[in-house]
Every structure is written in structure tokens, then in C-alpha cells.
């Protein structure tokens, strides 16, 4: 009987310690495209940090706005100084809950719905985004594409250049998570 309790305790301790619930990457890729026929506007950052908690089914994603790289230095300057006001609001982040059930033990790609809040430029908006999530024991891959409207985040675009910037900005995300030990 004692042995059984011991065995049970052993399984419990190591079972829990062995199960990794948080996955992390600090090198997630994020790019956005707000091109119009008048102007190509594409920017990319490889320095987004993101977590997935597979027990709570939660996801968090954040990126520093000054880490975006544009084709032209001038665009980068306008983006940081006039539109995102990076000195005042250096981060953009999304936190949400994965509402589609996912079997984290399988290795099958799932198109999941994530309900959460996107915060940038000091404004927060409720959003439901779709992501392709491929679970794995030592790696989780997630990709997503979402559209945002600058005006929803109080980003004022002068009317003189309004036609050069897309009404809806397409954001693409690619992340490969690894187990995170604290």
C-alpha cells in the first residue's frame, strides 16, 4: 500500500513537472502591408516575443514598434514619429484566449479562433483573430493573418497621404514556439 502511494506521488510529481505548459519564442516574425497602387508600404520585424499557455489556452504577443524595418528610412521615421508615436507608445500587444478546442498532444494543424484584445498606440480593441496552430511536443508553430484599421487605434493619417496608405492594414505573423522553463 505504502509503495502504491509512493508510486502515485512519484507519478504525480514527475508527471506535472514533465508536462510543459508554457511555450515561448522571442524571434517571432511579424510583417504588415499597407500598400496601395500609389505606394508600396511593407515593414517587418523579427523580434516579437510571444507565449502560448496550453493549459489555460492563452496566447500573448508583443512587439516593439521601433523594431520594424521599412524599405525607406523616411517611412520608418514617419511610422515611428507621426503614426505610432513610438516614444510614447513603444509596444504593440495582443493577449487572447484560444476558443477553438485544441488537442495539444496531436500534431495536426488546427485553424483556431482566438478572442482577445489588441493594444497599440495607446488604444485597445476587442478582436477575434484566426490562426493556424500546429501543436507538437517540443515545438508549436502558429501563423496568422489579420486586418486592422489605423483609425480604430486613433492613428491619424493626414488627408494629403490618406490615399497612399491602405484603409485596412494586413498583418502577418509567423511564430515557432519552444518549451519554456522558468
Amino acid at each position: 500500500m505504502n509503495k502504491l502511494i509512493l508510486l502515485f506521488a512519484f507519478v504525480l510529481t514527475f508527471g506535472i513537472a514533465g508536462a510543459q505548459s508554457r511555450f515561448l519564442t522571442k524571434d517571432a516574425k511579424i510583417n504588415f502591408n499597407s500598400s496601395t497602387p500609389l505606394e508600396d508600404i511593407i515593414a517587418e520585424s523579427n523580434q516579437a516575443t510571444t507565449f502560448i499557455d496550453i493549459e489555460k489556452n492563452e496566447i500573448a504577443f508583443s512587439v516593439l514598434t521601433t523594431s520594424f524595418k521599412f524599405r525607406r528610412a523616411l517611412m520608418e521615421e514617419h511610422f515611428n514619429e507621426n503614426y505610432m508615436e513610438s516614444a510614447k507608445f513603444p509596444k504593440a500587444k495582443f493577449t487572447g484566449k484560444i476558443v477553438t478546442p485544441i488537442d495539444w498532444k496531436s500534431e495536426k494543424m488546427v485553424v483556431a479562433e482566438i478572442k482577445g484584445q489588441l493594444t497599440m498606440h495607446g488604444a485597445t480593441k476587442d478582436m477575434t483573430i484566426k490562426a493556424q496552430i500546429t501543436p507538437g511536443k517540443n515545438k508549436i508553430i502558429a501563423t496568422s493573418e489579420l486586418k486592422v484599421t489605423p483609425e480604430d487605434f486613433k492613428i491619424a493619417i493626414p488627408s494629403a497621404v490618406r490615399d497612399k496608405i491602405a484603409k485596412e492594414v494586413t498583418i502577418k505573423i509567423e511564430a515557432a514556439y519552444a518549451p519554456y522553463q522558468q
Binding site: 522571442k26 523579427n46 516575443t49 525607406r72 528610412a73 523616411l74 513610438s86 516614444a87
Partner: protein, 144 residues
């Protein structure tokens, strides 16, 4: 005859003005990217100091260091190469330390220096501070 001469002069002034104006617009539009490696660092400090500044008051530290050219020194805890061939050196702590990113073009031009910067050695990088997520990020870095 005199009228024609004045007209010619005005035309020339106008043409020169146009060329100067257009080249100014062209220059501003295509202005070169900021090259932090050629700037003098606004702050030279230990990675540990930078980490403690951000831990004590993130907002104040962000205000102080954001977009500044900084030179930071610390023990290298991890070295990673990303898909786009840029390299990330984490100083003092792999997760919550200072991450210095060297762009792929600078990886090529500094390859001999970078090859000596292995895990456990001391590294000094100059770059542009872009703020803190989990770690403090310094981008467009070059090794010193």
C-alpha cells in the same frame, strides 16, 4: 533684345531652382538609413546596469534609452542565428537580459569578431535600444 536676356536669366534661375528642389526632394525621400555603428554612443554601460534601470522603472528607462545609440557590455549567455541570418547575443540572462541583434549584413562584415563571441565570453555591442519586452532589445548592433 534686353527683354530676351532677362527672360533667359529668369528661365535659367527657374531651371536651376527646379533641379535643386527636385534633388532635395529625392534626397529626403531616399535618405540613407541611420547608421548607429558610426555614431558615438550616448550611453556606455554594463548590461547589468541597463537591466536594473529597466527593472526599477521601465517607463523612465524607456524614455531615457529608446532610440539612443548605446554601448553595452556583458557576459554572453546565448547566441542564436535567426532565419534571416541575423544573430542575437543575449547578455547576462538568456530570457530577461539584454538581447543584441546584429543584422545579416553586419554579421558578414564582422564575421571574425563575432566568431570569438561565444557563450560564456564577454561581449560589447553598440546598437540602438528599442525598448523592453521580456528582455531589453538593442538592434542594429555591431560588436566593438
Amino acid at each position: 533684345m534686353a527683354k530676351l536676356k532677362t527672360f533667359r536669366i529668369i528661365l535659367w534661375i527657374f531651371l536651376i531652382g527646379l533641379v535643386v528642389g527636385l534633388s532635395a526632394v529625392y534626397y529626403v525621400f531616399n535618405k540613407p538609413r541611420r547608421n548607429v555603428s558610426k555614431e558615438t554612443a550616448a550611453f556606455t554601460l554594463d548590461a547589468k546596469q541597463l537591466i536594473s534601470d529597466f527593472k526599477i522603472d521601465e517607463a523612465a528607462a524607456t524614455k531615457k534609452y529608446l532610440d539612443q545609440a548605446i554601448m553595452v557590455k556583458g557576459e554572453i549567455k546565448s547566441v542564436r542565428t535567426l532565419d534571416n541570418h541575423s544573430m542575437v547575443f543575449s547578455l547576462e540572462d538568456e530570457m530577461e537580459g539584454v538581447s543584441c541583434t546584429v543584422d545579416s549584413a553586419d554579421v558578414v562584415s564582422n564575421s571574425s569578431k563575432l566568431s570569438q563571441l561565444v557563450k560564456g565570453s564577454a561581449g560589447t555591442f553598440k546598437g540602438r535600444c528599442s525598448g523592453m519586452l521580456m528582455d531589453i532589445q538593442v538592434i542594429n548592433c555591431v560588436p566593438e
